[in-house]
């Protein structure tokens, strides 16, 4: 009896395992079946998934942030969108009030040519950012707005 029970258990396990394998395989191959029972009357066929894949390669490693803002130079970057400068001006006031020895640089004052809401390309963005980096800030706070 013990041998028979053992064989039955193994059989059940094999069936379950087989089912799981088939399921896993069908997911791996990609399966999409309409939910309607009526769909069972239709033959199955393949279609291409039109979404395409995303292959993102990290382009930059972000530097660690400073542990304190005391004594640091902070660049405020405005892209020209309405009120972004006013928002950053208020942040500047609060930084000067709250943080010892902080130095503020406003991008739109030192490099007005960088005020550009839509740069259009990474290359153009890099061009503008290099101009701001030349001021050697420890941190940049940018307002994206709308």
């Amino acid at each position: 009896m013990k041998t028979k029970d053992c064989l039955i258990t193994m059989g059940v396990l094999l069936i379950v395992l087989g089912f799981l394998t088939l399921t896993a395989r069908s997911f791996a191959e990609g399966t999409a079946t309409a939910a309607s029972p009526a769909s069972q009357g239709f033959p199955s066929f393949e279609v291409l998934n039109p979404e395409g894949v995303v292959q993102i390669v990290p382009t930059v490693t972000l530097n660690p942030h400073p542990s304190t803002l005391e004594g640091k130079t902070i660049m405020l970057r405005w892209n020209g969108k309405h009120n972004g400068d006013r928002f950053l001006n208020r942040i500047a006031e609060l930084l000067v009030k709250e943080v010892k020895g902080v130095k503020i640089i406003r991008s739109w004052e030192v490099a007005p040519e960088t005020v550009e809401p839509i740069t259009g390309s990474q290359e153009r963005s890099m061009e503008l950012m290099k101009k701001l980096a030349a001021f050697k800030p420890d941190l940049v706070i940018g307002s994206q707005a709308d």
Binding site: E29, A34, L48, E51, G52, V54, V57, I91, K130
Partner: protein, 428 residues
Amino acid sequence: MGIPTVTITTTEFVDLAKDTAMSQGVPDAPFVVVPHPMGMIPEAEIQKKAENAFAEIVKTATLWKPSGKLPEMKPAYPTERVTFRGSAEELNSLFFTKGWSLGLPLVPPTPDRVKEMLKGTSLKPDYVIGKVPPRMGALTVELAAAHAVMAGCKPEYMPVLIAALRAMLDPRANWRGATTTTGTTSLLVIVNGPIVREVGIASSQGAAGAEHHANASIGYALNLIADVVGGSKPPSPDKSTLGAPSDFVPWIFGENEDRLPQGWEPFHVKRGFKKTDSVVTVMAIYPPVENIDHWSVTPEEHLTWWGHLATPLVSIGGPCWISQMDQIHLVGIGPEHAQLVADAGWTADQYGKAFWEKARLPFSVWPKGCPNVDLLTRKLGRLTPDTPVPITFSPDHIQTLIAGGAGKHSHYFAPFPSCFPVSVNVEK
């Protein structure tokens, strides 16, 4: 450059900001989110938003750490096959639910149909045309063919479709900006040369309407690719405030080269190509402005009327963003209007210059919050409220082509900011 940053964005735009950073290879960037909007609110209100965000800005500036997680990388080719069982209606429903279509009926992209479509191009199916923004989905020739099948294209349309995609993927076309902006933008696709006749691109009466098979299906395929491979759907990352029907089929037509006045050159020749070349030119545009003129009998009269009609576009925000004044703006001249000015002995350049001289708006109507007025002053000199501000800095920025058939209508196509027309040879 190694300089830490904190970027302020709003609740409406944080998803787009994160997606953009991710698609540019920055898996996470430090953002501080404030309640939307920031623009067009009183100064006291924006200051309050700054005060409320201050603690979070300082915390992000000093405590933020990257998580560095990236999505799993899969090969772009071969395109994944999906097994389906069900009716045509169920397939359409499934594709729409998964974000694989725009909801209109489509032809199922079966491997056989895609193989047939690939006969229209000599490019290998695994060739990667580019990565479609903003999602940066890898677009292989096989994947483009799948979309061409879905949109109902014929195989002979593939070279035009691929040329348009190559042009849009050129950084000068600013496809990312055009598909994510709050503005009502769409693609403008102009086809020139022998390919127009060869594949039946409409170039005369109602050419930009969607009732022409080649124009409609190629255009639909382009927008399918933008929305599905590029992932540009509202409410995010497509942030269009209203959007437009041109999100289904863009503005696409052939130049009416048969109706070029004597001595006038086709659009692609003016852009440096040979007359015998087949060329596709694309540009992201705002909704066109139409000129209706049944009455003028001289070029001067016509251009005075036309210039004043086009000036409302000056208020779209472009002049507040000075870069737009250094861009190329296009005028699709109706054949009858072109004949009027040509009969008076005018060249296309003279037409463009006259249009530029007339299309102006006084500086006083600009919103007071416009940035960059200093840069404008450097270009135009001292500005008074009455100073007539042109659409562009130079008449050379106005380019013309012959668009449409019989009738007394011309169209002005203003570019999306930081976007230039890109012309690409059609290669079979």
